[in-house]
């Protein structure tokens, strides 16, 4: 498994502002993922972040709205830009250690409320 921490655990933000969420893993991992869980909904993959390359975004998500950094093999950030109330969600970081590792492990999530 993996020990994954996220900061902040929760935040309340004003519309039009941006929030950067940090994800830290206790060991090096190849693949990191960012998910969104809207209220009462399932998880939706936002993007995949591999170290040394640009993040790959899923349909419906764009880099201008959700810029991602992956400076090393244990850390990533997701920024939610120009927020609106519709961005109120739980944002979760997830990791896999390599192509031979099948399981994704999740961080505790960041609960974001946009007023």
């Amino acid at each position: 498994s993996a020990v994954i921490s996220q900061k902040p655990s929760r935040d309340i933000c004003q519309r039009g502002t941006s929030l950067t969420i940090q994800c830290q893993v206790d060991s090096q991992v190849t693949m990191m993922f960012w998910y969104r869980q809207q209220p009462g909904q399932s998880l939706t993959l936002i993007a995949t972040a591999n170290q040394g390359s640009e993040a790959t975004y899923e349909s419906g998500f764009v880099i201008d709205k959700f810029p991602i950094s992956r400076p090393n093999l244990t850390f990533s950030t997701l920024t939610v830009s120009n927020m609106s109330p519709e961005d109120s969600s739980i944002y979760l970081c997830s990791v896999r250690r390599g192509p031979s590792t099948d399981t994704q492990y999740f961080g505790p999530g960041t609960r974001l409320t946009v007023l």
Partner: protein, 114 residues
């Protein structure tokens, strides 16, 4: 394309009774199947997975799941539920041809009453 259906939004059982949470999937080729649990204000915790081999998979906290290829199902079971099993459960699938993308079901809220 790959998808998961969890037909029940909620499952209610009495403590000590068997618990079943249903999941069916659709995927091209052979699947990787997963169950996760989410407690209030917590992230997702991995419970168990089916990759290959025995159709009956045993996981954490006394949970097990049975892979049924003909019925494209992967139901989660626990012989004797505990109040502490009350949580939100997600089934997820990934096609073997797909390197990374998990598709999640809508989730099933389990309530175990004392």
């Amino acid at each position: 394309a790959q998808s998961v259906a969890q037909p029940e939004d909620q499952v209610n059982v009495a403590e000590g009774n068997p618990l079943t949470v249903k999941c069916t999937y659709s995927v091209s080729g052979n699947p990787y199947l997963f169950w996760y649990v989410q407690y209030p204000n917590r992230g997702l915790q991995f419970l168990l997975k089916y990759i290959t081999g025995d159709n009956l998979v045993k996981g954490s906290y006394g949970f097990e799941a049975e892979f049924n290829k003909s019925q494209t199902s992967f139901h989660l079971k626990k012989p004797s539920a505990l109040v502490s099993d009350s949580a939100l459960y997600f089934c997820a699938v990934r096609a073997r041809s797909n390197d990374y993308k998990l598709s999640f079901g809508a989730g099933t809220t389990v309530t175990v009453r004392a």
